[in-house]
């Protein structure tokens, strides 16, 4: 098996669930036809290249107590984007912070996802982000219903 095939197989397997067993990478090895050492070496390589962020858990945040969430979009002058983007990214309640290209008629160019344990905490966090950044033109776009939530399929 060449390296590329090994990478493909490991990625395919690891985008699913890792079993909670004493030697989980051995379990992956058995399913992919690699050795445990090869699995670990592929993962090391992917991590070094920045393609793998970590082997870790993704939580259902509502169940973890974070059930007040909103997408908050901010109108930030481009020349101020560095400062504002970094400031908002530093807030632990902000999970995503992206500067996006936006269409005409949509002036909000910085997108954040804010998560909190209550609506009060959420609103306080948003007000605090506005106060500290000095950006007072923003919209809180709450989710009404989750229509789909899955993971990216890489291979």
């Amino acid at each position: 098996m060449n390296r590329r095939d090994m990478v493909d197989r490991v990625v395919k397997e690891l985008q699913g669930d890792l079993p909670a067993v004493s030697r989980p990478y051995l379990a992956v090895a058995e399913r992919t036809g690699l050795s445990e050492q090869e699995v670990i070496s592929v993962l090391d390589e992917l991590r070094e290249k920045g393609m793998l962020k970590r082997i870790g858990a993704v939580l259902r945040h509502q169940k973890a107590g974070y059930d007040a969430n909103a997408m908050v979009v901010w109108k930030v002058p481009e020349e101020d984007m560095d400062r504002v983007g970094s400031l908002m990214a530093a807030c632990p309640l902000v999970s995503h912070c992206y500067w996006r290209e936006t269409p005409p008629g949509w002036p909000y160019n910085l997108f954040t996802m804010v998560h909190a344990r209550s609506r009060r905490e959420l609103q306080a966090a948003i007000r605090e982000l506005s106060r500290r950044s000095g950006i007072d033109e923003y919209r809180v776009i709450e989710s009404v219903r989750e229509l789909k939530k899955t993971s990216v399929q890489y291979r």
Partner: protein, 151 residues
């Protein structure tokens, strides 16, 4: 969920080691046994707190192209349009939101061509414009929720 569970979840969100016995490494750091770690993870999975334990990849560095899309869908057509949009496996998240644009979804495809084709197909299929808002700069993506270890 007790203190031990909270510590396990906080640890798992940071990631386990890439050594042959990652849960033993974890157990030693938390001062509990490996058996306890494994049993608790299994229980947290069954309770639905852990959505997934596995590889967390960086999709741009994996060569994927993605964008956030918004549509203005008439109330009466929401189910029909959602069904058409969600049919693509490249659509990973889709939310109904309370704004002028009421349907917001992310598309992550293996090439820019695929990405654009999907958006065009959705427009053709629904007759509704799809507004695409690709990333100019990523400041952060870290979906981790600190759990209180004191309670």
């Amino acid at each position: 969920m007790d203190r031990v569970d909270a510590r396990i979840l906080n640890y798992l969100q940071e990631g386990i080691s890439l050594s042959p016995r990652p849960f033993l490494d974890m157990a030693r750091e938390l001062g509990i046994s490996e058996e306890t770690v494994l049993a608790r993870i299994e229980a947290l999975r069954n309770q639905g707190l852990i959505r997934r334990l596995g590889g967390v990849f960086d999709s741009p560095r994996m060569g994927m192209k993605s964008t956030l899309c918004a549509m203005e869908v008439p109330e009466a057509r929401i189910e029909e349009v959602a069904q058409k949009v969600n049919a693509y496996r490249e659509v990973t998240h889709n939310y109904l939101r309370d704004d002028v644009y009421n349907m917001w979804f992310t598309v992550t495809a293996s090439s820019q061509e695929d990405l654009e084709r999907i958006l065009q197909e959705i427009e053709a299929d629904t007759g509704i414009a799809v507004v695409s808002m690709p990333v100019r700069r990523r400041f952060k993506i870290k979906v981790a929720f600190a759990l209180d270890e004191q309670t």
